[in-house]
Subunit: 348 residues, 2 copies
């Protein structure tokens, strides 16, 4: 027995149409009438029925944000920035949108299901964050979905994700390749010649690009890479710990370990320390992302800072139509090398 528009109308002695117009503020209503309506709304504690409104108006105030792992600050920071711009509540009037964060857990199926769910809700916009899975059929399915969404008027923005061709989706891509290369060049510059690499999960764009950057740096320096120097794992600390032990087992003469991201790097540090190796005297370590805790590691982590919050904010604004998309609908966001205590001259 909830209160409806009609109840409010009756109480304010006006027609439902008028109440609707007062609430939406998109049609002239005499001040006195508005006043009366607003009072009735208040007295009856009326709350608009979202679905009904969305149905009639054929629009919705939902904005979806897809992330791979909400427990990872990498995504949390971006999501936070995006949501702040979406305005959730607090944004300028008229833009009261419900920004919803959907956690795909990195699973292609869930990603697709969430997209369908958002499509079903006729979401106003969708922001996809983080690397994409490189499985061909899945990529095609996602692309098809995105195309459908844009066709239906949903704005689609990719944040920290490679462009999706033929989808009209705006892409803010992180320069993972460039960042990876800078990082490894830095280590090579210090004199390292035997570098281990702990990569993320295979079949992920982020993983591949960072690794490619690393290899490009090696190649440019004329260093021939030993296949034993690369190990794949997940993007978490645990994985870094285990992978490092594995690397050490394979080749104890490594003088540097480059990790897929900061969490992995932290795990690597732990493993090295437990193996009795000092950082950076015995082995240098480098991460990626520059998450807040990275500066607190001991020694603090050499890494590549990605402007997560800035990129997220921009993606949010574009999704809201408050900022022009970049020319060509694609922009590359660069990382910045942060040289800190965990990298140093190799032991000899």
């Amino acid at each position: 027995m909830t209160v409806t528009l009609a109840d409010v109308a009756a109480r304010a002695q006006v027609s439902p149409a008028t109440v609707s117009r007062v609430l939406n503020g998109n049609y002239p209503v005499a001040a006195s009438t508005r006043e009366r309506v607003l009072r009735a709304v208040d007295e009856l504690d009326y709350v608009l029925n979202g679905p009904a409104s969305a149905l009639a108006a054929a629009t919705s105030d939902l904005v979806g944000i897809l992330v791979n792992d909400i427990a990872d600050p990498f995504f949390g920071i971006m999501a936070s920035a995006i949501q702040a711009e979406i305005g959730g509540p607090g944004g300028r009037a008229g833009g009261e949108r419900l920004a919803v964060v959907c956690n795909t857990g990195g699973s292609p199926e869930r990603e697709l299901t969430y997209l369908t769910l958002l499509q079903r809700q006729r979401a106003a916009a969708v922001v996809l964050t983080g690397g994409a899975v490189e499985d061909q059929p899945h990529a095609a399915a996602v692309a098809a979905k995105l195309r459908k969404l844009t066709e239906a008027g949903t704005r689609v923005v990719l944040c920290g994700r490679p462009p999706a061709p033929d989808t009209r989706a705006v892409a803010l891509t992180f320069d993972n390749r460039g960042g990876g290369r800078q990082l490894t060049e830095h280590l090579i510059g210090l004199g390292h010649r035997r570098l281990g690499y702990i990569a993320g999960p295979e079949e992920r764009t982020t993983t591949r690009h960072r690794l490619e950057g690393h290899r490009a740096a090696l190649a440019a320096a004329g260093i021939e890479e030993d296949p034993r120097w690369t190990v794949h794992g997940r993007y978490d600390r645990r994985s870094g710990y285990e992978a490092t032990l594995e690397l050490l087992r394979r080749d104890p003469s490594l003088t540097a370990v480059v990790a897929a991201n900061d969490s992995v790097a932290l795990g690597a540090c732990a493993a090295l320390r437990e193996s009795g190796l000092r950082i950076p005297e015995d082995v240098s370590v480098a991460g990626f992302d520059d998450l807040p805790f990275s500066i607190d590691a001991v020694p603090s982590l050499t890494t590549v800072r990605l402007p997560l919050a800035e990129a997220g904010a921009r993606a949010g604004r574009i999704a809201m139509g408050r900022e022009e998309p970049p020319p060509g609908e694609i922009a590359t966001v660069r990382g910045e090398l942060m040289v800190r205590g965990s990298s140093g001259v190799p032991r000899r």
Copy 2:
């Protein structure tokens, strides 16, 4: 020009009613008919109109998760666990719900606005995580809102938040007081008598409870507390850094620093180190929560582990009606003291 139920019905040569029933699977439909309908759905790429469906059925598949700060893993971990149970996609059939994470940024207004938005969407359930703001009028407003929600059939669960009386909301409360007490007792047991405390923002239940636990331990040990030993800040690293410098300035003879949470503790460690103090030889440090990175600090952090993921999962299940609420609608979740390298015998 989107495809509607009627289009599918026409194509499958059945009535819209039948299509609806096939899609919802809540009514007997002959296998051959179902087959035909499903094929039509597929061929037309039909996607159900969420708002329309929600309107007609007077139910929704939205579940809201309110968090104070999505960029903080404390909330990220809980949100992730909750969402996994909500099923989002991937949950068992029939329960395909859209779990949405709403970031309040700790602001009472936004919290309220989000609740209204969820109420407007006729959310199936709402989970509020983390400490509440202790502002009286605001607390009353939230309580009123929660009451409205439960009355409207929305299940409300509080996770890591104190019970809200008279709201029929289920509460899984963290024993912040007990955890705080254990932690400080541990330090006292090591011989500390001069302990600094970096508290969270005032007017927050979590802040107050942890501090009360700390003070209870001091009182029980007959230690008289110096008002200079407590500093308030935010729940982030930066705040811990600054507060520690302040504490050191006020009383350089402190032998231990207890922080409101792990991030703050990390900031404290950084400040101590920069001040030339060794941990734990010169000053012991303790955190709270036991977030993943805490074990990687050097030395690793003594803290109180809160079963964030477990509590979140349980909250999620209760919200979905898949688990019985605890007796009395209230359960207390205890923390576990994790003694690690950052705490030791005080310098003399």
